[in-house]
């Protein structure tokens, strides 16, 4: 079941919250695992088989690794072997099941595979001990808000929270606020951008305007979809007393590709940096080797998004661009402090254009189609604007601007600035009303139209 469904929000969420707050502290972790299983296996308990196998596997291997700590060679072999098994299993399931029967697909598989691997690597590197408590490992790998799209965490951060975490009305209220903000990002913004995107894709020949609108609506859709899901996860986590890290920090409106990638899906990049790099980068001192592995990392991140050639090419392009930027020092050139406003604005434009171009790879069916879209974006061959593009431009310009405004940190700035003023302090009384209305509007949006019933990214 998806977090943005009526089944979850209207039926299960109140029950989950009430039961969680009523049960004594001892039982809270067990209860969370129970609800995770219900939410994940809703209507199809067989889906639970694979993640359950993962949890048992990682728990067992974790204990073995702990034992073998002093025998580095053997533990390396065990780690490599178990990582290989999990990656192969994940790849097979993602390529085979997803095409045939959507409902059998164990969604979130890429997320909990990485969590599990992170746990094993952490033990191997002696960052933390293997947990004797099965419940802790199970919850770390398989807790329902997180399995959809992250955020990814290391076991080290998680460990303490699993044992002791605050559980009071303030947490609950802050958590619900965050959840509603995430829900709004998902169902009000992402779903509408997704709708525009699908409608535009149906237009036959693309004019320049249509091509740009398509990529723009797609990038906004993808951003708000992922952001919405992680914010909902963070919100729910907060309701249960957890403190999850942020996954995005306003990636649009950055002045270099490096900065863009550093604020896009942060926890994923961090995972790759701490775990993947640890094995590969450490041993390479030369510069070209570093860059090669930078590109490789991004290719892996691309593959993590989806096992398609376009995604991997997207990753490789990203890696190459970052390498070029770092080689030439471009990423530092465009920061406002270094080169003044002019350089900063130039950096903004250059990054925005490049990132839009590369997003095409993430939605095109194949490379030839990506080529035609790029051509339409660059040339006047099919005209500057056509009817389709014009209709959606005039209908949704307000929403697109709103989306951009929220995607930039402007929205956050303004709320923060109001909050510190005297009137702002008084306005806080309206908060329940504002969140109530926003929640109602989210529910209204959920009724509407053909929503994307499944995540576009099958992670």
């Amino acid at each position: 079941m998806y977090l943005s469904s009526f089944t979850f929000i209207v039926v299960l969420l109140p029950i989950i919250l009430v039961s969680y707050y009523l049960i004594p502290t001892k039982g809270k972790n067990g209860l969370l695992l129970f609800w995770s299983m219900i939410v994940y296996g809703w209507g199809n308990p067989f889906r639970l088989l694979y993640p359950a196998a993962c949890v048992f596997f990682d728990y067992g291997i974790g204990l073995v690794l702990e034992r073998m700590q002093n025998r580095k060679k053997i533990s390396t072999i065990i780690l490599a072997f178990s990582a290989l098994i999990q990656i192969i299993a994940m790849t097979l399931i993602r390529t085979m099941v997803q095409e045939r029967e959507g409902f059998l697909f164990p969604f979130g598989i890429a997320v909990y595979t990485l969590q599990g691997l992170g746990y094993l690597i952490g033990i191997y590197r002696r960052r933390h001990m293997a947990s004797v408590k099965f419940l802790n490992v199970a919850l770390y790998i398989f807790m329902f808000p997180v399995i959809y799209a992250g955020p990814l965490m290391t076991y080290l951060e998680y460990q303490e929270q699993l044992e002791k975490r605050p559980c009071n009305i303030m947490q609950l209220s802050k958590g619900l606020q965050l959840f509603i903000r995430g829900l709004a990002e998902k169902v009000i913004l992402a779903d509408t951008f997704g709708y525009i995107f699908r409608e535009l894709r149906q237009a036959g020949q693309m004019s320049m305007l249509t091509a740009w609108l398509t990529t723009l609506s797609f990038s906004m859709y993808l951003y708000f979809e992922l952001l919405g899901y992680t914010e909902m996860a963070r919100g729910l986590g907060k309701c249960f007393g957890f403190q999850f890290p942020k996954n995005f920090s306003h990636p649009f409106f950055t002045s270099s590709i490096t900065a863009f990638l550093q604020s896009w899906n942060v926890t994923l990049l961090l995972w790759f940096q701490t775990n993947f790099r640890y094995f590969l980068f450490r041993n390479f001192e030369r510069k070209w080797q570093r860059y090669l592995f930078l590109i490789l990392t991004w290719a892996f991140i691309g593959a993590w998004y989806g096992l398609k050639i376009q995604f991997i090419i997207w990753g490789i392009f990203m890696g190459i661009l970052v390498s070029i930027e770092q080689l030439t020092g471009l990423d530092k050139n465009f920061i406002e402090e270094n080169s003044g406003r002019k350089g900063y604005v130039f950096g903004l434009i250059y990054t925005a254009i490049l990132q839009q171009f590369l997003f095409v790879l993430l939605f095109a069916k194949n490379l030839t189609e990506a080529g035609t879209i790029w051509k339409a974006m660059l040339s006047f061959g099919n005209g500057i604007a056509d009817q389709t593009g014009f209709y959606f431009f005039t209908s949704y310009i307000a929403l697109l601007l709103l989306g951009l405004y929220i995607a930039a940190d402007l929205f956050q700035n303004i709320t923060e600035r109001i909050a510190v003023t005297e009137i702002g302090q008084k306005l806080f009384i309206c908060e329940p009303l504002v969140y109530g209305l926003l929640f109602l509007f989210c529910l209204a949006s959920m009724l509407y139209g053909e929503r994307m019933t499944e995540l576009w990214l099958k992670i």
Binding site: Q177, Q387, P432, L433, F441
Partner: protein, 364 residues
């Protein structure tokens, strides 16, 4: 302290909304609803989807929530609700290129039928209101072109299939009340004019307009587009009845349902109970069935086989003045194997009457 109160009230508001919706949903629980999830869904793995779909349509305060969202959309500049263009005068359904029939394959069912049976066959494709009232659509609105497509499909028919151009008839009568404002279908008036020219081609003299006594059966008809959009800004429609006592009276009607049941409907074509029900349009031909056989007191030996979608419902009252027997086959229920529903050998003429969208969906 103040902060704490605020936190309590936020939690309270949100749980209250959830609870109200939940209670509303339980109260409006509908045992007969189509979407109702059952055990069967559980076993074929679609249970989660099914419960979600059910909740989406039957959540408490559904209509209020829906109007909040659709009005917000109209406010920011969208001119469409759920694939229906909203204008001041009428609701117009948007047709995608994939909705309208393909040039090459669209004529095939009719050609095949004619070649197998050799019954003189007539073919009418009705364009959608959004094509006739193109000029009323919002600026730059996208809508599949149908005028040329109908012509091209007609060109693909074999000799012996007579095509009747409904587009030109309807578009010349644009200023009349020929399509419902809140429904995709045409009114009796629109149907009459197409009947008038079709029946001439089929070898009869049409009953003239003056001979009909027109009575408004309902002035509160809100059709399928209203159901889809729940938009109140367009006036409700009028359901008319065209009465002509001078010729052709029905003697018997028998309905055959897809599950094998039959029903004797006496000599009453119109179903007045539908006027107080949910779907007022059923007034014209009663509850939809797979096959409906109508006998009249005309003894000219002419028998008509009518393959139709719901557009033809209001044409039937005109046709009964010319035939001794009409067999109506509902294409929406039979789909592609409409051949096997009737023994065609008894009939002297066949008429295919369908809207572009339905034809496209049925014979894609």
């Amino acid at each position: 302290m103040k902060q704490k109160k605020l936190h309590y009230s936020i939690v309270f508001v949100i749980l209250l909304i959830d609870l109200t919706l939940g209670i509303g949903t339980i109260k409006s629980y509908d045992k007969t609803a189509l979407m109702r999830p059952t055990l069967q869904h559980f076993f074929n793995g679609t249970w989660a989807e099914q419960t979600e779909k059910y909740l989406q349509e039957h959540i408490g305060f559904h209509d209020v929530l829906f109007r909040i969202k659709s009005n917000a959309d109209l406010f920011i500049g969208e001119k469409m609700i759920q694939g229906v263009y909203v204008t001041d005068e009428m609701l117009l359904e948007k047709l995608y290129a994939s909705d309208i029939p393909d040039i090459v394959t669209a004529a095939e069912p009719v050609n095949q039928f004619y070649e197998e049976t050799q019954i003189p066959t007539y073919f009418i494709l009705v364009p959608s209101a959004s094509e006739i009232y193109k000029t009323k659509l919002p600026a730059n609105a996208i809508n599949a072109e149908q005028k040329n497509r109908i012509q091209q499909i007609y060109l693909e028919t074999v000799n012996g299939v007579h095509c009747i151009d409904a587009y030109n008839i309807l578009s010349s009568l644009k200023d009349n009340y020929i399509y419902y404002r809140t429904d995709t279908r045409w009114t009796c008036c629109g149907a009459y004019y197409v009947y008038q020219s079709a029946i001439q081609k089929m070898g009869f003299t049409p009953v003239s307009y003056q001979k009909f006594v027109i009575s408004h059966m309902s002035t509160e008809f809100r059709g399928n587009l209203y159901e889809k959009t729940l938009y109140n800004g367009v006036r409700a429609d009028v359901l008319d009845r065209y009465r002509n006592e001078s010729s052709g009276q029905i003697t018997s009607i028998t309905a055959y349902y897809a599950d094998g049941q039959t029903e004797d409907r006496g000599n009453r074509l119109y179903d007045t109970t539908a006027l107080i029900g949910d779907d007022k349009y059923q007034y014209y031909l009663g509850k939809p069935c797979q096959k409906l056989i109508i006998h009249t007191n005309i003894e000219n030996g002419k028998k008509l086989l009518l393959y139709k979608d719901s557009f033809a419902d209001c044409v039937v009252p005109f046709l009964i003045h010319h035939y001794s027997e009409i067999c109506i086959v509902n294409l929406e229920q039979t789909g592609e194997d409409f051949h096997h529903v009737v023994d065609t050998s008894e009939y002297t003429q066949a008429l295919f009457l369908c809207s572009m969208k339905n034809w496209g969906n049925l014979f894609a």
